[in-house]
Symmetry: D3
Subunit: 132 residues, 6 copies
């Protein structure tokens, strides 16, 4: 089973972070503690993200919404890129961020929108086309 978790971890990480430059969380953790980094990665990516109950695009909307209200901008940037990689539409990402204003307030939403705009620009998806 451990091999199975390792395989799922690698596949899911490859799917999410395709084309994403910069240090990944796993690399940050590994710079401190190789074993703990492995445990964290197998748990988060292999035992949570690779589960089948929610499809990947829905999981990413959940991530985007929570990271917006918690104003975790670097992590939000990463998950917006993962969201595009798994097929979320730019318009859905914007809508998710807009909706969070009701729960987490307008300033957090504003930071979320700015982060999304930057990610879309870097992916040549800005301004959002009518069909996106």
């Amino acid at each position: 089973m451990s091999n199975d978790v390792s395989k799922k971890t690698a596949e899911t990480a490859a799917l999410y972070f395709k084309g994403v430059s910069g240090e990944k969380p796993y690399e940050l953790w590994k710079s401190f503690d190789r074993n703990l980094a492995r445990d964290l990665s197998l748990f988060i990516t292999g035992q949570i993200y690779s589960r089948q109950v929610l499809p990947h695009p829905t999981r990413q909307l959940v991530a985007v919404a929570t990271l917006t209200v918690l104003e975790k901008t670097e992590e939000l940037d990463l998950h917006l890129r993962a969201a595009l990689n798994v097929g979320c539409k730019p318009r859905e990402l914007a809508e998710t961020i807009f909706q969070t204003a009701i729960y987490g307030g307008v300033p957090a939403m504003n930071q979320g929108l700015k982060t999304l705009r930057k990610v879309l620009e870097e992916n040549d998806l800005w301004p959002i086309a009518d069909e996106d």
Copy 2:
């Protein structure tokens, strides 16, 4: 257009809060200020929740995720009931709450799970059946 927003507000509120007892947010606001309550309700329900970019079940997962990490328990209770009303499965709701632990921590997830269990019990959906 104002009539249109009023109509959408009423329809969406009826859909979300079908069978939900207790004071609704609109009633709370109205007890303080009738006009402001109307403005708030038309804006939130009529101009945000009734938009078509995200389907209702996805919107509710977004609400559930953010309310869990922000630990807004009463509001989470309300949106879990709305989620069931628009067709979210118990298992999807649990999965959404489990996922938030990564972003908002385990204690917030625990409160979310307890709130979900209570809502499912009151709707005769507990324990979660295999096909749910």
Copy 3:
């Protein structure tokens, strides 16, 4: 000067907590550590709340607004009573709480409004009269 701070502390505490039943923060602290309780009380009440730059009603609106977005319900209850004691109007308190929704979201506002309604009821100020 220390006598001066003690005097201001006593005067300000008497003003804020007039007619407020239940354990005051100072009493909670004293049950753990008499000296630290005194230091905390002299600092917060004597050296912050008794300053003259902001009038007491404005200070209480600041307290009410921040305690609402931070969702510190017990402390909010206490400061709403202090606010009434220093002359804040019920309508101003409601308006302050309504405004916070923009920054801290609607669920926190809802809890703030519920707390205010309870405090006003216990002070025979509910429903809010037209002239309040």
Copy 4:
């Protein structure tokens, strides 16, 4: 009535943002969705900020206090400028931020003070004069 809200929105926005450079929230929202931006702006600026229950300077102190404890630095910067535009004194703004330490802690207060100092410097109001 809709015309009335539009007029109040424009007047209040002009008052608050006089001389403020950089992208305003409304412009950010509009870059994503013109209709939703309009709805948001009419609601926040036209139906909340233009209400008469609290005078504009008090509203801005409420905004400054909550944005400090929530540590929304960009939005705090904007509202500090709006506060100066509606007549808040530098010393009142500092006092408001100092007071929030009791509720939201010292680190959030420190960020608030740094933001205020920057805004005052850019408005040639630093250091704070004795009569301010």
Copy 5:
């Protein structure tokens, strides 16, 4: 290695929760999903709490401090009991909670102190003796 993690998980859980009544987090998780509950428990208890870099009493002070500022009262209650089980002194727990006021504000500290007092009372450790 998996056996080793299981063993550490069981040992650490037994140490922390000795004599603690009520539903444990693991039981809550298991009521939703047996496999995920196991993964969570092995990760948190077996791969984090059982590590040797920090001694158990220090780990519990870290838990108490963060749960206080995040105001996670139920979880704080649980970790205060675990703290007593691993040898933390009542006075150290109170001091840790007092210190957090600087970072997370006084209201969160107050809730932390109330939770501690309740836990100490239920363990016949209240009021705190001079030698504790």
Copy 6:
């Protein structure tokens, strides 16, 4: 006693901030209000940090843990330097930050780790040696 507090304040500040460049919190406060800065400093440094119930290294782990979950990065940077000054080991600081992920989530932990890595690099303590 006031002299005693002043002395403790100076000693503790010297211990914590030895070799730390950049503006200290006291200097920030003093740029706004000399008297209030003194009150704040005597209270926080002289009446909290200089207490003897917790040894300085434990106090700094408490500070590091709470500042990580609250994501107060500038203050965390300062307290990580203070932690090294009072004898905390790099590995203990990393472990403390890793543990907070359970309570405050992974993104806050990631920011904490990045801040720690920067501080260790600037103190020639990176990468962490086996004996640290």
